[in-house]
């Protein structure tokens, strides 16, 4: 097997703050192939967004320390110079964000913002870039693109803004697209449109997508593989089917139990995860999930609080948990039965 298109190895992102070092990402590894979508799930402070800012090199170098390896098409990004990264950003890898209104410049027209990216990376004329911008707007489903190209972001509706943002991100045919909660601020019917659009565009261009979200439902719709993050670490990896149907980490299990289903039982309470997400300034020892874990006492010798569980990945599948497979089979059954129909 050749080297993967994107390979992240033992990535660490540490922020220095007045109160101490925040280990926002603490040893994260994953691969992504072209044309595939990796869903990264996690709650606030899990390190999912930080990871992707680091891939693009958009962290603040004054207070952020990166360590590990990020290989994009065999190019090491952590040691790359700012100039090299500028050549890659918006060109080979690009990003879309949650709040499209805040993420688009209010002072420039949609067309200007799209063509700016294109001109920067192709060096073409203003006129060619404008033609390209209209073409991209058409492709993401903006009606009357030749007119709307001269509009400002505030003249677009929420869904259209996100479409325009996607057009801007894809204008140079990037091979990697990082989508950071792109549908979270949208209504469900518009969210469905945007996800369909991303899927269509991926089929057309073969883009690799990292889709960051807190919503397992969105993951189920769009991802091929799933990476579940908790407290700056990956706790579980696998295909979408494996993770959602047969979760191997108590945290994933807890997330699934927290979400009511549209056709689930209504008269039983949900099974939430007790407590709150950990502080990364002073994270729990051992397994970072152990203070909230329902099964921590099932592991002998208090290893959950003393020893960091290894994430052993076989064929892209693995979970960082001290429970034995037999224990999980026994303890998780109730949930698994309820989740499959």
């Amino acid at each position: 097997m050749s080297t993967p298109f994107l390979s992240v190895r033992d990535l660490k992102v540490h922020f220095s703050t007045e109160d101490g070092i925040v280990k926002a990402v603490d040893g994260l590894s994953f691969d992504l192939e072209k044309g595939k979508t990796l869903g990264i799930v996690g709650e606030s402070g899990s390190g999912k967004s930080v990871t992707n800012m680091a891939i693009l090199g958009l962290h603040d170098p004054r207070n952020t320390a990166l360590d590990g390896e990020i290989l994009l098409d065999d190019k090491e990004l952590i040691t790359a110079t700012e100039k090299e990264l500028e050549q890659l950003r918006g060109n080979k890898m690009s990003m879309i964000f949650q709040d499209a209104l805040a993420s688009l410049s209010p002072y420039h027209t949609i067309g200007a913002q799209i063509s700016e990216t294109y001109r920067k990376h192709t060096g073409c004329s203003k006129r060619e870039a404008r033609v390209r911008a209209i073409e991209m707007l058409r492709r993401v489903g903006i009606p009357q693109p030749d007119v709307r190209v001269d509009d400002y972001p505030h003249q677009f509706s929420g869904g259209m803004r996100q479409r325009a943002m996607i057009a801007m991100a894809l204008v140079c045919d990037p091979e990697l697209l990082i989508a950071d909660e792109p549908t979270t601020a949208l209504d469900v019917t518009v969210q469905a449109q945007i996800m369909d659009l991303l899927k269509d565009l991926q089929q057309e261009f073969g883009t690799a997508i990292i889709f960051i979200t807190h919503d397992l439902g969105v993951i189920a719709d769009i991802a091929d593989d799933v990476l579940v993050m908790y407290g700056g670490r990956c706790v579980e990896r696998g295909t979408k089917k494996e993770v959602l149907r047969d979760p191997q980490h108590p945290y994933t299990l807890g997330l699934l139990g927290s979400m009511p289903a549209l056709d689930g039982p209504v008269d039983v309470p949900l099974s939430p995860i007790p407590g709150s997400p950990p502080s990364l300034l002073n994270p729990p020892s051992g397994c970072r999930f152990h203070p909230r874990c329902a099964f921590a006492d099932k592991v002998s010798g208090g290893r959950c609080s003393s020893e960091r569980p290894a994430l052993e990945v076989v064929d892209g599948r693995g979970a960082a948990c001290h429970l034995t497979p037999e224990q999980k089979r026994e303890l998780f059954t109730d949930y698994a039965a309820a989740r499959t129909h």
């Binding site: 019917t189 807890g254 997330l255 139990g257 009511p260 549209l262 939430p272 499959t340």
Partner: protein, 352 residues
């Protein structure tokens, strides 16, 4: 109280926010028709869910019921008493019976007050002196909502988001309300915390027999929490029914599309029905004529543009299941066409 009089009876409720403009003297030139003729009832101890997308008027409705806003028209009756335009004095006794829980648990708590003060505030204002004093009652309430009673003297910033929402719940419970209006109470919280708060609210509702108007955009959470559900679109209720009727037999095309758009954390062998609406919700300043959903509806005809469909018990509906549609869906309706991309280019007006 007889069983025929509902706790809360809302009829023809309307709220228009005027838009000022004009030249050279400013005057009202239009109105945001945030809520336009709502009819619904809430029985004692019942939980009514109010769902819809942004701009549908669900939050405005919540604020009208609690009389934080003055209705433009219609009637709100609470336990047989008309409170539509009741003044401060008349509202005073009722205010303690109708409480509200807000979306942002941080912004809705005074950062300079201790938790004890925040929760006892409503009791002091209403001159209620529980046996054992305020502090004892607050400690009980903290325990009810799953917080440590010892945290009485702490400030809101010392709590996490989920805990803050619990404080909000405790404050709402302090006056032993009959009705709680919860406006997106969990949407600002992390998934694992959402479930904690939903469970808490459900427990409160069952144990204390409090009626709820539960406003949310998350259809799965609304279903989990509410016995009856109303779906709103552009200031109007398009469908209202018992939970099971609504989710299993949606008659309004919008309800059906909304349900099919909810992403579910399941991997199905056979794909679910997918209805993709085109475009976004139109502006409530100048809503479409007739049926407001017609610009995004795949079944719309001339009739839909000229005649607003009344909210009625459509043929085939169970009693109490009301739908506002000229052409209600039936269970065997062929799945709607997938409209996502082609629809947009064909119908630019709807998307714009």
């Amino acid at each position: 109280m007889s069983s025929t009089t509902p706790l809360l009876d809302v009829s023809g409720l309307t709220k228009h926010f005027p838009i000022k403009g004009g030249f050279p003297i400013k005057r009202t030139v239009g109105a945001v028709q945030a809520v336009d003729g709502l009819d619904f009832q809430v029985a004692e101890g019942e939980s009514l869910g109010l769902v819809g997308e942004s701009g549908c008027g669900k939050s405005t409705t919540g604020r009208l019921i609690t009389r934080l806003l003055e209705p433009t028209g219609g009637r709100i009756t609470y336990r047989g008493q008309d409170i539509t335009h009741a003044g401060r004095k008349q509202l005073a006794p009722i205010r303690s019976e109708i409480q509200m829980i807000f979306q942002d648990p941080y912004a809705s708590l005074n950062p300079r007050q201790t938790v004890g003060k925040i929760i006892s505030g409503p009791m002091e204002i209403n001159g209620i002196n529980p046996p054992g004093g305020h502090e004892k009652r607050v400690r009980e309430l903290l325990e009810t909502v799953g917080l440590n009673p010892e945290h009485y003297n702490r400030f809101p910033h010392e709590f996490s988001g989920g805990q803050r929402q619990r404080i909000g719940v405790a404050r709402a419970l302090a006056l032993e309300p009959k009705l709680i209006v919860a406006d997106e109470p969990v949407s600002a919280l992390d998934v694992s915390i959402q479930a904690q708060v939903v469970n808490l609210l459900q427990q409160v509702q069952k144990d204390l027999g409090i009626a709820f108007v539960f406003i949310a955009h998350d259809l799965a959470i609304v279903r989990h929490f509410s016995q009856r559900v109303a779906v709103m679109y552009l200031g109007k209720i398009v469908e209202i029914a018992d939970r099971d009727d609504l989710y299993n037999n949606p008659r309004h095309p919008y309800t059906r599309a909304l349900l099919s758009a909810v992403p579910e954390a399941t991997v199905d062998e056979e794909p679910r029905e997918r209805i993709r609406l085109t475009g976004d919700v139109p502006s409530p300043i100048n809503p479409p004529s007739g049926c407001r959903f017609r610009t995004r509806c795949w079944k719309a005809t001339e009739k839909c543009a000229t005649e607003a469909p009344p909210l009625v018990e459509a043929a085939g509906n169970k009693p109490g299941h009301l739908t506002a549609c000229h052409y209600p869906e039936t269970t065997d309706t062929v799945p709607a066409p997938r409209l996502s991309k082609d629809g947009l280019t064909k119908n630019p007006e709807a998307a714009a």
